[in-house]
Symmetry: D3
Subunit: 327 residues, 6 copies
Amino acid sequence: MPDVITFGEAMVRLAPPSHRRLEQTRTLDITVGGAELDTAVGVARLGHSCSWVSRLTDNALGRLIANHAREAGVSTEACLWTPDDRVGLYFYEFGAAPRPPGVLYDRKDSAFANVRPGMFDWPRLLAGAKWFHITGITPAVGAKTADATREALEAARAVGVATSIDLNYRAKLWTPAEAGKCLGELVALCDYLITTREDIANVFGIEAPDHETAAARVAERFGLKSVALTLREGSLGWRNTLSAMLWHPGGILRTRSYEVEIVDRLGAGDSFAAGFIHGVLTHDLQKALDWGVAMSALKHTIPSDFAWVTREEVEALLGGAGMRVDR
Amino acid sequence: MPDVITFGEAMVRLAPPSHRRLEQTRTLDITVGGAELDTAVGVARLGHSCSWVSRLTDNALGRLIANHAREAGVSTEACLWTPDDRVGLYFYEFGAAPRPPGVLYDRKDSAFANVRPGMFDWPRLLAGAKWFHITGITPAVGAKTADATREALEAARAVGVATSIDLNYRAKLWTPAEAGKCLGELVALCDYLITTREDIANVFGIEAPDHETAAARVAERFGLKSVALTLREGSLGWRNTLSAMLWHPGGILRTRSYEVEIVDRLGAGDSFAAGFIHGVLTHDLQKALDWGVAMSALKHTIPSDFAWVTREEVEALLGGAGMRVDR
Amino acid sequence: MPDVITFGEAMVRLAPPSHRRLEQTRTLDITVGGAELDTAVGVARLGHSCSWVSRLTDNALGRLIANHAREAGVSTEACLWTPDDRVGLYFYEFGAAPRPPGVLYDRKDSAFANVRPGMFDWPRLLAGAKWFHITGITPAVGAKTADATREALEAARAVGVATSIDLNYRAKLWTPAEAGKCLGELVALCDYLITTREDIANVFGIEAPDHETAAARVAERFGLKSVALTLREGSLGWRNTLSAMLWHPGGILRTRSYEVEIVDRLGAGDSFAAGFIHGVLTHDLQKALDWGVAMSALKHTIPSDFAWVTREEVEALLGGAGMRVDR
Amino acid sequence: MPDVITFGEAMVRLAPPSHRRLEQTRTLDITVGGAELDTAVGVARLGHSCSWVSRLTDNALGRLIANHAREAGVSTEACLWTPDDRVGLYFYEFGAAPRPPGVLYDRKDSAFANVRPGMFDWPRLLAGAKWFHITGITPAVGAKTADATREALEAARAVGVATSIDLNYRAKLWTPAEAGKCLGELVALCDYLITTREDIANVFGIEAPDHETAAARVAERFGLKSVALTLREGSLGWRNTLSAMLWHPGGILRTRSYEVEIVDRLGAGDSFAAGFIHGVLTHDLQKALDWGVAMSALKHTIPSDFAWVTREEVEALLGGAGMRVDR
Amino acid sequence: MPDVITFGEAMVRLAPPSHRRLEQTRTLDITVGGAELDTAVGVARLGHSCSWVSRLTDNALGRLIANHAREAGVSTEACLWTPDDRVGLYFYEFGAAPRPPGVLYDRKDSAFANVRPGMFDWPRLLAGAKWFHITGITPAVGAKTADATREALEAARAVGVATSIDLNYRAKLWTPAEAGKCLGELVALCDYLITTREDIANVFGIEAPDHETAAARVAERFGLKSVALTLREGSLGWRNTLSAMLWHPGGILRTRSYEVEIVDRLGAGDSFAAGFIHGVLTHDLQKALDWGVAMSALKHTIPSDFAWVTREEVEALLGGAGMRVDR
Amino acid sequence: MPDVITFGEAMVRLAPPSHRRLEQTRTLDITVGGAELDTAVGVARLGHSCSWVSRLTDNALGRLIANHAREAGVSTEACLWTPDDRVGLYFYEFGAAPRPPGVLYDRKDSAFANVRPGMFDWPRLLAGAKWFHITGITPAVGAKTADATREALEAARAVGVATSIDLNYRAKLWTPAEAGKCLGELVALCDYLITTREDIANVFGIEAPDHETAAARVAERFGLKSVALTLREGSLGWRNTLSAMLWHPGGILRTRSYEVEIVDRLGAGDSFAAGFIHGVLTHDLQKALDWGVAMSALKHTIPSDFAWVTREEVEALLGGAGMRVDR
């Protein structure tokens, strides 16, 4: 029985190499990405048994997604397969200042978008698990996925599994008002919230003078055990400064900041969630925050949405290792 | 004003290199293909002004399709652009005996699938043209594309533009019965039919003892000026023998046969149509058949759906040039 | 509990693309291969739960091997990990007549070469399994791997698991005399033998006038349930004819022959074993032979040692599907 | 009839990927570049009909150049084709501090270098056009191209088409004295000058204490409507700060500055000209300067000499969009 | 002092991968080729010290040519370097039946084309050498290269170095009449001629009823020690049958024939020359012919103009090795 | 006779492109590296005859190493070839802050690791040479390579050849105590030491308050003519500041500092040694230091371990050239 379970959609990601624009490229690099799968991968790479729950079309692209998940150490045994629907895709263009990265989604009518309540036997899937994680994308991608997400969270609560949500507001999927209404109900079913101050304002209309207040107010509104905010500074595409802070009833926690050279920023937030879950499961909230930001910083340096790291590498970074080649 | 006009959908084609299966590849080669565009490209490469009429989503993928069409010499000025819908895709796996090539279509809800009658100003588009060409795919891809195709053919007939159709039955799009009913009406509006004996049997239920009879019967049923059949022999993936025959009221025409080493067989039939149209426009039915099969043979040797040849190269082949390097 | 278990070494395979020689290439394609893992992959692709038992160094290359195994559907939970030793490699040059393919092994002192009896808890690993498979490479790669292999076979026999061996004589690893002595003891512990007439002669000194006699004699000597021989004809690198025959106490079985266009011949024998095991587990010896040769034929068309096929594709081939594109 | 016409040479550009030196690379990326074509592409991408006038050898390389131009939206109908001469090439090495980028030209005896007055029917080509643009390279590449350029400018003047020149002094083509004499005559036929303070000093010997004075003096000497200077700061290869200023009789205009992460700096000046022309045609000199520097900044982030942007992307940048991924 | 010396031009070869046409490719593979350098490489790979005499422009492309020569084991110490002129290039398109391979030369005004008599100190360069080899291309590429070639041959004759010529008529460089006059004088200075019956007819107007007679007549006309003819059969691009025959005063020699799968046919004739020279230097004329055709057959299987083989591999082929993987 | 001789191991380097991790890559770029070969390449590129002395396995990988050395201008005539042992490999992962570059060595039991005293005829190899260079890696890679290194240094000393050592402490090969004992004896046989302050402390236990004191103390202890220290500043992976200082009996020398954008940092120290040797051979210690740091700065911008530069490029950098494209 896996310790950690995540639930959501993953897509085939198609990206031109070498900073090419989509219009000019003649080749695409093919990987797989999806917020909850990305987090599952991070958790698995850190040594936890982890299962990703999803729904996939039974063709070469659907199998490819499951193959990549297993390659990275994630169990796909709980996935449902359908001969219908299609596999979601997204096209990614890397950015360089002043040109932002671009994402062209082609995910309508995907197998996951047609997920409905009752499709998954949650009590069975959650038996023995320690943690259940989703993001705010899962309820937004299909007509019934919000209901299906609530069903899953309630099942997790019912058996005492810890629950977390990464808010991840997606303007291409719904309006702030729609998101606020739906996500409010879901966050209320969660123990841990991961988000940014900006999303707190967008989704819940909580405008606060500082990160601490924003986190405290949203925690209070939904009765959360902790609220972690990731902090990104910098206006460039290839270099940012990363850190994180966390509110919990006992006060405010912070991390050191990392100067990151950015190879690929997709999945960085999802890797934060992975480090966070690892930290809570093995240590405490301070370690969770530290591991979260270290995982996120490392993810920025790795192509694809997945954090191809080892636990030892993250520990070395947390232990202060520098950029010297180890020879 | 372009001499030749074709009407249909083109898609982004994504193919693993080096005979890889989709599940195992990490890169895809991106080109563009669609039967009527492929034919337009062939016609343009042979020196005719040619316009491709279609409907595209105004995003990077839609622009990419138009860019590739123009790169190959085809005008896209008559295309409609929409902010809605999506761009059709297909994934192509090259084959090797005994594994056949594979095509995974992902074309539902494309901009072209939503084409309806009345969208194109055919009298204006056809003014001054000499030839209008479609395939049996165009009426099959959307709910209203059959009506839109009939509208176009009738407009062409009305102004005396020569009309041709490549039957191209696609089992993934409709049943033989559906195809037979619809295509029967469309073929009746055409001067020239290009097809195979197998499709004649599938679509129109005409089982004949030989190619000649099959062609004659379908010509008779629909009142056609000629019926050209492409003939492929061989059970391998990398080597086939190609030729063609044609029925017309004056008798039967044939071509020499070509031993072809197959780099990429997609678009080979469409290139036959291009050579055929070129031949009729500039010579006669025998030349049309000869140019058709030569274009098709050459297309087999070229990656992508497009026939990147020159008129001089086709002439050299028709003139008997061998495989010696010209140094 | 997996149905099928295989035991052996896998290596990182490094191959120049596009028929380049090693000396001239500047890039290498990296995949994973090893006879027993290749078979496990084939078995898993056909829908059976399958576990590969091996020993790997815990570094990026060792993890890469396990990742690729899982990606292809094989469980690596039974693998042992060590911080010591190294990961075996081999460099592969594709051939073209009259230049044969080339394999440069660099596998000395690998983690698997240091496998010793007692390292694996076979009774636990084999509990509930239906089939245990090895090849003649496993006993040859290390000083104690022959003993470890015997230990595994005896454990399988003890609990009634079916056992098979692919003889796979490797002249770079041992002499015919050494192989004959060791493999004789191991074959005597097996139910099913897969091999070629040539290896029967090389390893066991059984020179027979024909395939049937060779198979019968080796079956008789070792008390085997069946002996399957793969038959390859042709002197080219890109094209061969494949078939197989089988001796069993009830007589001789044969298959149709396949004309194959060869993309990558490595792993083709291992895929035969996979199809054979599938056939015995689900049908009978005739089906085993048929599935074996169909799997092997398909494997020739796919880059890498793994047979990236689906059960449906093999069934289609067995059902007589041709090279036509399915559109 | 196209709105904008440019006149000059384009070459096949061959560049090693991944910062490799020419001596060590085994692959080259092939694109197309040439100052006036680059500008034409930028103008076309912003939505204007645009024709590029040139002379090309009728072989695969010459056709490739025309194909790329059409792919990017530029008309090549006005190009002349010759069976003689050769196609100009240049090899480009990307730089990294402290190693500057390298350009190895191989353009002697190209089809364009043999352009002579009288080859183009300028009155016909310019009929209905709004803008005619050249650079200081066109007159320098061949023995008679200076005369041919003057002929074109005079024809444009004669029919009231706006004329612009990007000074673009090339030390590998001529001496400052030669350039000064020739370009002085050509600039006097232009309305708009785009250049740098350094080129003003090099070519015309105008040493001024600041940008404003340099621009004013050159404007005065040649009777120009405006002089735009692009300003680049920074000593690195992957990061620069860009802005621009402009002198016109009514005063000095300036732009904001952009921090740019440099993927490919070739064509950046040509894209400035494209944005500038767009701005004048649709707005005013301030917008021309703003669009020029925004186009140039974006071009730095895109591989190849062409600015693969959309009008909407430039507008978003001018509107203050940041580096956030739009999801 | 090198044993074997060859004299001629080498060019940078630029070839689209994967059978792409030049017009459609976005990458080129860069290697080096030139008949006399190709032969030098073959001779060096077989273990002889070998020097290639040429003239190169001192830029990155010229150095690249010399680098590749040295990489393959050929000495470039005798090459002259000039800051002037340019480096010859050629673009190569692989063929597939019925499309022949294509070569687009861009070699005018190269450093070698400007070679004149007196540039090389032949007595010094030839001191101690055993063999001097040229082809019929060397005298054809420049205005004075014929004179320079004669100078070299006379110097070789003067010191008793064996001389050979591969006739290699190039229709793109001169007419048969021009070639016949010039090459007649040069062949008369040679001991060994390598050619085809077709070139004997083209260049010397010797039409003979069979290979034997053609070889005998040309040998007689020019007083040659032997005339070797390479024989190619087959009308495909990926498969040919190769053999060779030789006339010498003692009679006719023949070789076995090889079925070759063709990866890259360029340089195959040059590799024949290399094997031939090796054979004469180490054995006799029969071995020379055998090694020549074996080297040529192997070259067909290797990308680039160079025969990346080892002496052991050629010996194995001559010894009857088949296509089995050596494991 | 070569002017400069270096002695050590080179390995095949296998690196994933585009910042991929080893576990996720499907292709590897193959180059060659090894400290003493890297230095030999730099020296050869600056125009000196240079021989690299090593021991290689006679297979495709061993030949590949020698080929690459010759390609870069280094003589491999003094290398020994053996049919035994294996070729050392290393896998390199590029870094990005905060992820350091990674090196996975697989060099055990290589042909060089089995080097023993008496294998090389040093008096003959060193005859006529001006300089002999090693690093602290050579004595560490094998059981007897320390003795073999001492033998070589003593032979160089005996004939008055200048000797230099780059300390290059490798923690993966030996402990500081082991290194200190062995390297102390070797440094005492050298004229010139190149190292870092950190290695001086690690290896010799010399903790000094500043660079100058560290250099002076180690110089004094071993009686050195000079001690050069390379100085690297910065905590990022893609950008550092480089300079160098040198102690000699006459005082302290320094260089300007370079801001470097890092493409590939491997071999940068080895290129410093190359520039240093060039400087001493042609100028003086100040030039040696200047050329050393300029070579090192340029090496950072070039993929692979080799400094693919020309003497003219280094001179231009030393002369103050900026990042402008030379057009």
